[in-house]
Symmetry: C2
Subunit: 331 residues, 2 copies
């Protein structure tokens, strides 16, 4: 008889799409997966229905039934009260998510136990257990996309903090009185080192009359917004405004990592998210250079690794599954 495997379901619920993995939490193997559009405009209950459907597809793809899994972990793009399985708010997914009892609703529909945490926390757990941070005791994960989020692994476990708000590296101050952050305050890391920060810098330069091929590229592609494709093309063509904006984003990310290392002294900093994935490993060279320069403990600076995330899109769903297995086995 085959040895019983430790299986859990992980869900990465985003504003536009959702991603389900059936994960062997002992090996990290993804036995089955399913992806779907989230259709946030339908409201929370309908989105839960879509998650249930995707979970059933993923179980089918994995060739297992819900009786074979320990439970479900869900990562969501916003703050949660993990102990209650409660989503506090998902700004990008509408007001039906305010104070939404996601764990309870999903559990009713599935007949499985469900835990909830935010997407960067579950991503950090995924990278720690099976990605670039495996084997470390203390690790910081940073995900650079439209925003800039992070998760902390301390003493081998996710550190969620007193109010469940730990890991918000995007709102560490790097430039007092500096650029306006999405949160309404000034000078935070997210206002410089995220995709929004890059766009802000480019728009400011163009508004100030600097010459750039960005407006022409946007017109050619019929875009009103600065898409990733436009940004990549401008960067590859050596557009000075774009190159400078990205260099600044890298520099601020390096300063952010240095701040985190000087206070936490982790074994590794794992950097993922859309911006880094698109630009590849090359993105981190400049980041490391700035970070190491600002480490207070320079003697052994080489021993703190600043590395690219390895699980890509799957870090969230894998991490959610791992976190579900951890938390549900403690209940």
């Amino acid at each position: 008889m085959e040895q019983r495997r430790n299986l859990a379901i992980g869900v990465d619920l985003g504003a536009t799409s959702l991603y389900v993995s059936v994960v062997d939490v002992s090996s990290g193997e993804r036995l089955g997966e399913a992806k779907a559009k989230s259709r946030a405009e339908l409201g929370a209950d309908a989105v839960v229905g879509r998650v249930v459907k995707a979970i059933k597809q993923a179980l089918l793809a994995a060739g297992v039934t819900k009786q074979d899994v320990l439970g479900v972990g869900v990562g969501v793009p916003g703050p949660v009260l993990a102990s209650q399985g409660l989503v506090l708010s998902l700004t990008n997914m509408g007001p039906t998510w305010n104070q939404y009892p996601l764990a309870a609703r999903l559990s009713e529909r599935l007949g499985l136990r469900v835990i909830v945490d935010n997407d960067v926390n579950v991503g950090a757990v995924g990278e720690h257990r099976f990605g670039a941070g495996r084997g470390t005791r203390d690790m910081i994960a940073m995900f650079v996309g439209t925003g800039l989020g992070g998760g902390l692994i301390l003493n081998g476990a996710l550190h969620t903090g007193f109010r469940g708000s730990a890991g918000e590296v995007g709102h560490m101050v790097l430039q007092a009185d500096g650029a306006l952050c999405g949160c309404g305050e000034r000078g935070h890391a997210e206002a410089y080192a995220s995709r929004s920060g890059i766009e802000r810098a480019i728009n400011e330069a163009i508004d100030a009359g600097e010459s750039s091929i960005i407006p022409q590229l946007m017109k050619e592609q019929g875009r009103k917004n600065l898409t990733s494709a436009v940004l990549d093309r401008a960067y590859q063509q050596g557009d000075a405004v774009t190159v400078h904006a990205i260099d600044e984003a890298q520099r601020y990310l390096g300063l952010l990592i240095a701040s985190c290392v000087n206070v936490l002294d982790p074994e590794a900093v794992v950097v993922g998210g859309g911006v880094v994935e698109r630009m590849g490993e090359g993105y981190l060279g400049r980041v490391r250079e700035v970070a190491y320069q600002h480490f207070l403990n320079k003697n052994e600076s080489e021993s703190i690794r600043i590395v690219a995330a390895e699980l890509g899109d799957a870090s969230g769903s894998v991490g959610a599954a791992v976190l579900a297995a951890q938390r549900l086995s403690q209940m």
Copy 2:
């Protein structure tokens, strides 16, 4: 027969003076104390001799013998390799301290087991166990003096980090490309929020031709350096340059606390050190205002306490004793 007490000796070794307490680590009671000049110019071995003498005085004052104590903890003003009881360097105390095996040397002389850590780490332990942070699970201590150091308590224990360098809050970046820090890099918290930062701001303002009573006060007191007494007097007399410099130091300390809270979400931030002690509780009002404004999680911002340290000069020696008892009981 009296119940046997848990006693340990704590030593706070500073560049100018050393402070020994015999501490009941169950209650925090200090049974005996001794203070002496460090006489750093005599070299490490001679300073160790002075520590031994002060320890004997403190034991005598406490009415106990060395057989009654678990061991000795020493906090030093610089980096250590705690696992080896090794001082790496004490910049302010001369080159004889480079790679100095303090625990071994002191242990030989005393016939007691000795542990070593840096002064802010032991101060954090003291404030956590018996001071303003007692009862918290996660706490950050910051000590604002000539420099700006910190210590982290996570899950109830001192967090020293992968290389033993955790807690260096003074070298978190708050103003990219800003003022020069003592470490040689720019824009770090210490360059703004410490006593050196206040002095730098005042000197820059005076050099830029701003009117201040500081030069006159220094002349009256026959001082070439900006002493605490001069600073206090100028502040109390409403000297605009001084008031502004201190306001800026408070503001940057608030930003630093916000950065730490956003990443770590602790239960309390305990602020001590000479600058805060001299100015009293009033110093923290402005600090809290700025910090709370930059908390990402504002809803419950009141629940994270930003409080003044309670143990004053004794936080280091009490914390060193507590840490000695903890570590020696694990050996």
